[in-house]
Symmetry: none
Amino acid sequence: MVEEIITSTEEVNSSLLKSFVERIERLDEERVGLVEDIKSVYDEAKATGFDTKILRKVIAIKSMDKDKREEFETLLDLYLSALGE
Amino acid sequence: MVEEIITSTEEVNSSLLKSFVERIERLDEERVGLVEDIKSVYDEAKATGFDTKILRKVIAIKSMDKDKREEFETLLDLYLSALGE
Amino acid sequence: MVEEIITSTEEVNSSLLKSFVERIERLDEERVGLVEDIKSVYDEAKATGFDTKILRKVIAIKSMDKDKREEFETLLDLYLSALGE
Amino acid sequence: MVEEIITSTEEVNSSLLKSFVERIERLDEERVGLVEDIKSVYDEAKATGFDTKILRKVIAIKSMDKDKREEFETLLDLYLSALGE
DNA sequence: TCAGATAAAATCGCGC
DNA sequence: GCGCGATTTTATCTGA
C-alpha cells in the first residue's frame, strides 16, 4: 500500500486514539479543577456562616424550570397525603 | 458598621449571598462547558470510527490504575507511620 | 372494578404506595443493621490491636483489584464483540 | 516461646487479620445484596407507575425529624427571599 | 424509554 | 464537637 511508506493503518489508528485519549483526559482535568473551585466557594460561604446544604438547594431550585418545580411539589404532596403524612 | 443597626443576626446578608451564588453559577457554567467539550471529542472520535463505549472504558481503566497506585501509596504510608510509633 | 368509579387516574393507589414504602423501609432497616454489624467487626479488630484505618484501606484495595479485573473483562468483551461485527 | 510449638505470633496475627477481613467482606456482600433488593422494589414501583424520584423523596421525608424538616424549609425560604426569588 | 454508566451530593467516621 | 476525608447514596447522562 502507498500509505505504508509513511505509516501503517494501525499506527495511524494508534496515534489517533492516543490523541483522543489525551484530549479527553486534559479536558477532564480542567473539569475536576473547576469542581474543586466550586467546592472552595462553598467552603468560603460556609466560613462566612452560610449553610452549604441550603445554599446548594437554593442554586438547584434557581436552575430548575419553574413548571417542573411546581409539578414536583404537587406530586410530592399527592404521595405524602396518600400515605396520610 | 451601619448595616448592623438594621440587620439582625437572624437575617441573611443578601448581597453576600448573591455574590456567592453568582460565583458558583459562573464556575458551574464553565464546568458544563467542559462537559460539553468532552462530549464533542467523543463524538469526533466516534465519527472517525472509534467505539465510544470502548474508548470510555479504556479511559476509565487508565483512571482506575492511577487511583489504585495512589491507594497503594497511601497504604504504604499508613504502614510506615504505624511502624514508626 | 368498583374502585375505578371513584378513583381517577390522577390519584395514587394509596395502599399500593404504602406497601412499597413499607417494603423499602424494612429492607433498609436490615441494611442499616448490617452496616452496624460491620462497624462492630471493625471495633473488635481495633480492640485486638489492629489499626482500622489500615484495615479499611486493605479491604478497599482488595475491592479495587476486583473492580479492576471486572472492568478489564468488560473491556475485553467489548473488544471481542466489536471485532465480531 | 511456648506458642512457637504451634504457631508464631505473626501467624496468629495473620490468621486473625484474615478472619476479620473475611467477616467484613461477607457482611458487606449481604449489605450489597440488600441494596440490590431495595433497588428491585423501586423498579417494581416504577413499573407500577410510581415516580421513583418522588418515592425516594417521600421516604426521606418520612425518616426526617419533623422539626428538622420545618427548620430546613424556613431557612430555604429565607435564602430564596434574600435573593429576591 | 430503559438500563447501565458517570457525576454530584449527602452522610458517616475519624482525629484533633 | 467540628472539620476533613472517605464512603455511600442520589441524580444525571448516554447509548441501545
